[in-house]
Symmetry: C2
Subunit: 249 residues, 2 copies
């Protein structure tokens, strides 16, 4: 048992090392203002520059490739992909509002923060029982002082054991991963057309029944357990979703 | 030079082998009707079952994980993720209409297939000059006899050297990868709200100025060269986009 915990611990350390090197390479791209199609240094030079083994560099590059940051052309080199687009919500990096839009003044207004019992839809999405406790949160998110989206989210209280208004005004995901030390794994996302109700239209300063983009997300911990379901309606004239795909072979 | 070609060839063979095993594992999931959260056999059993080395299985599992098909919990096992959802367009597997919806009767009507000179927008998206030749294609896609989306696409003729109506009625992407033997690499996708013009509304049997989902895609070859830009408007009441993300750490 202790051996297995130690092994797991070592594996986590190794993953963190790849992540750290991946971050350094992204930092290198940023500092050197590399654009789409620009070439990264050759492997040997990166090995020297970042003072890690070749295999660590290769693993870090694989991470960046899977995230759509770079592409590798065998025999030719490693190239930078298109960057984050300002004002576009990057669906595949949706690690929270704050991380999506680093160049903007962002804040949230909390409309609801309460412990509720799940209705049928939430029971199904969160895979919980009618008697389970759920944190229900409703927030308006503002970008540069303008309302940008309205989010409703439902967190399993058995996983996210404590929330308060201050946490909810800031980044819940940062709190979950850093304070609660939970490992966020993956998400299933659905984008669809929806319409605004009266309250939402008032918040956006627009008209009831206006069309909007709706993003529904189910977030899982690393071990596969669902912990959060959210529904976000975006302001029509502000929203573009951006994705980088590399599933073509 | 010949040595480098041989090396490249061997690398391609190895990649194809991982892909083949990844496909077999997906087939195994399908045949055994494994659901979200169901566990795959342990590594040793898969090694025996698929008659390949452990490292090949591991690489194939990494491919499936990066595509959102499975998730791996260290010390616990490998589990199946939520499957393709019927009727949802999977944005990250958008390898063509035909592959998205295998259980439906699909066909296309070709409204335009011509060689044109690119306007400013297309010059920018495809990174071409005003005098370059571009294949312009406009298609209506039908699902079970009903109009589902209207696609306009622009292909660099220097890359996609030949197209005819029959190819365009079928899958252009299959033709590109199988007949022209081009290696499709990655895509940048943007989802936004748009409205239907009169012609589009008539095709969908709905009203002019109705809201719709618009998907704009830029497709690159494996070497990073852009070869296709497309704009697809989807029928409002039919469309949900689905994505599986695993960029949380």
């Amino acid at each position: 048992m202790i051996k297995s915990i130690r092994k797991r611990y070592q594996e986590v350390i190794v993953i963190l090392k790849y992540e750290e090197v991946a971050k350094k390479i992204q930092e290198y791209i940023r500092i050197n203002d590399l654009k789409q199609g620009d070439k990264l240094p050759i492997l040997d030079d990166m090995t020297r520059q970042f003072d890690v083994s070749k295999s660590t560099i290769i693993k870090a590059l694989d991470i960046l490739e899977s995230r759509g940051k770079i592409f590798q052309v065998r025999g030719s080199g490693i190239f930078v992909r298109r960057h984050r687009r300002d004002g576009h919500v990057n669906l595949l990096e949706a690690q929270g509002f704050k991380n999506d839009m680093p160049h903007y003044d962002l804040h949230s207004t909390v409309l609801a923060l309460e412990v509720v019992k799940p209705d049928k839809k939430i029971q199904e999405q969160l895979q919980v029982k009618p008697e389970d406790d759920i944190y229900y949160i409703k927030r308006i998110r503002y970008v540069d002082g303008e309302s940008f989206c309205i989010e409703q989210s439902w967190y399993k209280k058995s996983v996210v054991t404590y929330l308060n208004e201050q946490i909810v005004e800031e980044s819940i995901f940062n709190y979950i991963s850093k304070a609660l030390n939970l490992s966020i794994g993956f998400a299933d996302l659905v984008v669809e057309l929806d319409v605004l109700n009266k309250e939402e239209a008032d918040i956006f300063g627009t008209h009831e029944h206006d069309a909007c983009l709706m993003l529904k997300s189910i977030y899982h911990l690393h071990n596969g357990e669902v912990f959060d379901y959210s529904e976000i309606k975006y302001r029509k004239d502000k929203t573009k979703f951006f994705m980088q795909s590399n599933n073509f072979y």
